[in-house]
Symmetry: C2
DNA sequence: AATAGTTTGCAATACCATTGCGCTATAGTT
DNA sequence: AACTATAGCGCAATGGTATTGCAAACTATT
C-alpha cells in the first residue's frame, strides 16, 4: 500500500519523504478537491508551510492540479494519470457547490473550444460551474 | 455629462453621492476590468474602504459585475445595460492576459451550456481564458 | 564519517477582503 | 427652519491566504 504511494511519487520524479507520503496518502482519500487549510487540519499537527510546499512540488511535477474556485483558497486535486510535469492537460470542468462548498472535478466534462478575437492567444482555460451538487440537492 | 453619470446611478436605484459619481466616472473610462487597488490609485487620495463599498453597492445593484480572474484580486467591470439587481446575466467569457495582467470582458463570447451529471444544479458559470491579448502579442 | 544537496519548520511579510464604529452629510418630516 | 432618521464616509482593526528567507535537520553519495 505504502509501496504503491511511494511509487506514485518516484514515478513523478518526487523524492518520497515521510511528509510527502502522508500528503499523497491524504489526497488519495479525498473525494473532492481540498484546500491547504483542509490538508492542514487533516494532517494535524503539521507545518502549514511544509504542506504548502509539498502541494507546490506535486503541482510542479504534474501529480496534482490546483483549482481556483473563487472561494478564496486554492484547492488541489490529483491529476489523471496522463498529466506531465509543467504541462497539465486535465482541462476539465470543476464544480463548486454553493451549499457544502466542496469543489469536485468533472473529468468527463471537457472545456469547450473557445475561439477568441483575432490577436488573442489562449494558453489556459478555467471553467468553474457553481451550484448545488448531487449530495446537497433535495 | 455628469448629468448622464448621475442618471446611470439613479436608474439603478443608487444614491448618486460625490464618491459614487467619481467611481462610476472612473469605471466608464476603463477599457478593461479593474481591481480595487487600481481604483484606489486612480482616485488617489480616496479611502480604500469607501471605494470598496461603492463597488459592492454597484455590484449589488447590477451596475457592475465582479470577476475573479485568479490574479488574487477581484476585478470589476461595468455590466451591459440589461443587468438587474441581484441577478447578473452577463454570462460572458473573461480574458486574462498573462503578459499585461489585464482582464477584459468578451461580451460576444457567451459561455456554452454545460450539462452536468444528474443531481447537479447550475447556478452560475465562470469561464476565464488566460493567454496573451491582442495588445501584447507580437 | 564527511560533504553536498534537499527538505523541513519557524518567523516574517505582503496582500486582499471584510466588519465595527463614530462622525458627517443628506433627506424627509413637522 | 429645526429636528430626526437614515445613509454614507473614513479610520481602525481583524482575519485569511500566499509566499519568501533562513537556519536546522535530514538524506544520499562519496
Amino acid at each position: 500500500m505504502t509501496e504503491n504511494i511511494e511509487e506514485m511519487l518516484t514515478r513523478k520524479d518526487i523524492n518520497p519523504t515521510a511528509m510527502r507520503l502522508l500528503v499523497l496518502d491524504f489526497l488519495l482519500k479525498q473525494s473532492s478537491a481540498i484546500s491547504l487549510t483542509d490538508l492542514e487540519k487533516g494532517l494535524d499537527p503539521s507545518d502549514r508551510i511544509t504542506l504548502y510546499r509539498a502541494l507546490k512540488k506535486f503541482e510542479e511535477k504534474g501529480l496534482v492540479h490546483s483549482i481556483d474556485d473563487g472561494s478564496g483558497a486554492t484547492k488541489y486535486a490529483l491529476c489523471e494519470n496522463d498529466c506531465e510535469a509543467g504541462h497539465h492537460h486535465d482541462l476539465h470542468v470543476h464544480f463548486f457547490c454553493n451549499t457544502c462548498r466542496e469543489t469536485s472535478c468533472l473529468p468527463k466534462h471537457h472545456i469547450p473550444q473557445i475561439t477568441l478575437p483575432d490577436g488573442f492567444k489562449t494558453e489556459e482555460v478555467n471553467l468553474i460551474v457553481k451550484g448545488v451538487c448531487n449530495k446537497c440537492v433535495q
